[in-house]
């Protein structure tokens, strides 16, 4: 922690700067390419409350910027949630979706896509709302089923999450099977995409995610203690079951909020915490904020690729995250000199 803390004082600002640069670059690049300088000028004018107007302003501020900001916030939420679940469950395979959030969200989205209902609240489609509710509902179910008396053992939680996810996936498959016309939309939703980004939605999602992030950062020391096991954490003065519930809740909240605007973007939440850990070590005081930034950075780049490799077709961003992130992760794993002990 001593070294890590000093490393963090350098790493976090550097990563932040990378994220900012990538975000501005991603805003500049697109079907209509705009010079970097002009993008900065338009962004500055908007931030200062004196929009310059014109077509460039519209492209930047109304179309690209919400999308880039969504990528930052969704990637950040998923990266952080992944770190929380990996630490809490002491499992390197854990990701934000592990205890049922993806199954619940996907089923919710499927039902919403099939239902003949069109509604929109605060910029959110019915699909978004259903996915959000489905994700949180599934976790609530897993937590309550996984309880053994007053305790929620990690293994039971993991296996319950796995079982429930399978059940929800089966129901979803059945719904997809009997409804051939919505099939493509459902499949696309499960691959993730940031095409629906808009400012109205972001006005709700940003505070929802930022508040949860702040709470998670505050609990970083507890997550460190959790790494030693539930009993050791308790002997270090942590109210284990209560903290576990709070952390599960925050991680699931982050995931549900992210998924509701982007669909099931895979791989970010699994790999980003590992990449950060490989470079900066396992201390959550550094790992959590760094995972937020790197998650955001990763998704901004992935989304940029998703919309620019095959124009005018836009690829589902989930394809890019796995296709680009996978090899990069394997490279890092092999490069790490000693065994990576998770």
């Amino acid at each position: 922690m001593n070294n890590g803390w000093r490393r963090g004082a350098v790493a976090l600002p550097v990563l932040g700067l990378c994220l900012l640069t990538a975000a501005v670059a991603a805003t500049a690049i697109g079907s209509v390419s705009l010079p970097f300088g002009e993008v900065v000028k338009i962004l500055a004018s908007r931030l200062l409350g004196a929009p310059v107007g014109g077509p460039s302003d519209t492209i930047i501020w109304q179309i690209r910027m919400p999308r880039v900001v969504t990528a930052v916030i969704v990637g950040g939420a998923l990266g952080t949630a992944g770190a929380v679940f990996q630490g809490l469950l002491r499992n390197p395979m854990a990701d934000p979706y592990i205890i049922g959030t993806s199954g619940g969200a996907a089923l919710g989205a499927t039902v919403a896509l099939l239902a003949p209902i069109q509604l929109s609240i605060l910029g959110f489609s019915f699909v978004s709302i259903a996915a959000f509710a489905g994700a949180l509902g599934a976790v609530l179910l897993v937590y309550n089923i996984g309880r053994v008396g007053p305790r929620t053992p990690v293994t039971t939680l993991l296996l319950t999450g796995f079982a429930l996810s399978s059940i929800l996936a089966a129901i979803m498959s059945f719904l997809m099977f009997i409804s051939n016309n919505a099939l493509r939309r459902i499949v696309l939703w499960t691959m993730g995409g940031l095409g629906g980004a808009n400012w109205t939605q972001l006005q709700v999602v940003i505070p929802a995610i930022l508040l949860a992030l702040a709470a998670v950062y505050a609990l970083a020391p507890d997550l460190n203690a959790f790494l030693l096991g539930d009993e050791q954490a308790a002997s270090l003065g942590i109210n284990v079951e209560r903290r576990k519930l709070i952390l599960l809740g925050l991680g699931s909240w982050l995931t549900a909020a992210a998924v509701s605007v982007s669909g099931l973007v895979g791989f970010v939440g699994l790999v980003v915490p590992h990449v950060v850990r490989l470079v900066l070590g396992p201390d959550h005081r550094l790992l959590l904020p760094a995972s937020t930034i790197v998650g955001g950075l990763f998704l901004v780049i992935a989304d940029l690729l998703a919309r620019s490799v095959m124009p005018p077709v836009e690829l589902p961003v989930g394809i890019i995250t796995a296709l680009v992130g996978g090899p990069f992760f394997i490279y890092l794993l092999r490069k790490a000199r000693r065994d990576y002990r998770f």
């Binding site: 020391p221 050791q232 002997s235 270090l236 003065g237 998770f342």
Partner: protein
């Protein structure tokens, strides 16, 4: 007994069915150093966990300075009692320094980070446990004895008055066993930490502990000095092993010699 710091009074405990601890009473005097011995399944590990509040008695109570443990906040308990488990699995790649810093968890204020006070406490226990040279090495790469010293350092970073250790030397070579036991004894005499440790090796227990408590089937059979506890008769009855008790050549401590049935 003079100033008991930690007391178990008529404690019953069961995991699912069948009592693991039965009407067990035990008291640790301030500054004492007690070895907890007994056959496998006699309830040693369970008793340690009950005494540090990880398990709650089904009946009876545990008192820390006369206050019921179950009513104290976990954080407050962690500032007074530290627990060194038998097996600590550390899946992540912490350095020894980071591990010891985890011992400061009960003093952490959220969002404030590590304070100078935390650093000073960690430096102090690193010196005390002679682990300064290991501080920046990955915990997973240390030897068994070094790991155990780091884990004890982590427990000490809690600045506890009471140290409860579960088989602190069980997986170690004889030289590391002695090293760790010497450390524990030094902590007891210099830092005035009250120590209770479960021990498998009765001869080591006899050499290093002032008092021994013999547990069998969830009850205390006898508590006393090694000379009082380690009798041929009791060992035969409780451990079902034939032994001869001899005196250590240099210390006034009993040592057991095994007499296997074929001999």
């Amino acid at each position: 007994m003079r100033n008991p710091v930690l007391t178990a009074a008529h404690v019953d405990f069961s995991y699912y069915n069948g009592l693991v601890l039965k009407d067990l009473s035990l008291s640790l005097a301030g500054g004492s150093m007690t070895g907890l011995i007994g056959p496998n399944g006699s309830g040693k590990t369970t008793l340690i966990k009950v005494l540090c509040g990880l398990l709650r008695p089904k009946r009876g109570q545990v008192l820390l300075h006369g206050q019921e443990l179950a009513r104290l906040p976990r954080k407050e308990i962690a500032r007074k009692i530290a627990w060194v488990p038998q097996d600590l699995v550390v899946p992540f790649d912490f350095t020894a320094y980071e591990m010891v810093m985890l011992g400061r968890t009960p003093y952490v204020q959220h969002l404030r980070g590590i304070t100078a006070r935390d650093r000073a406490a960690v430096e102090q226990v690193l010196a005390l446990t002679d682990t300064e040279s290991l501080a920046h090495r990955p915990f997973s790469e240390l030897s068994g004895g070094e790991q155990q010293r780091v884990i004890i350092a982590m427990a000490l970073a809690q600045e506890p008055q009471i140290l409860l250790l579960d088989e602190p030397v069980v997986h170690l070579d004889v030289n590391h066993q002695i090293e760790v036991l010497q450390l524990i004894r030094r902590l007891n005499s210099e830092a005035e930490v009250t120590v209770l440790a479960t021990m498998h090796d009765l001869n080591l227990a006899s050499l290093y502990f002032d008092r021994l408590t013999l547990l069998n089937r969830g009850q205390v059979v006898v508590s006393g000095t090694p000379n009082e506890v380690l009798s041929e008769d009791l060992i035969r009855r409780v451990f079902r092993a034939e032994v001869q008790v001899q005196q250590h050549p240099l210390q006034a401590k009993p040592q057991l010699v095994l007499l296997p049935p074929s001999a």
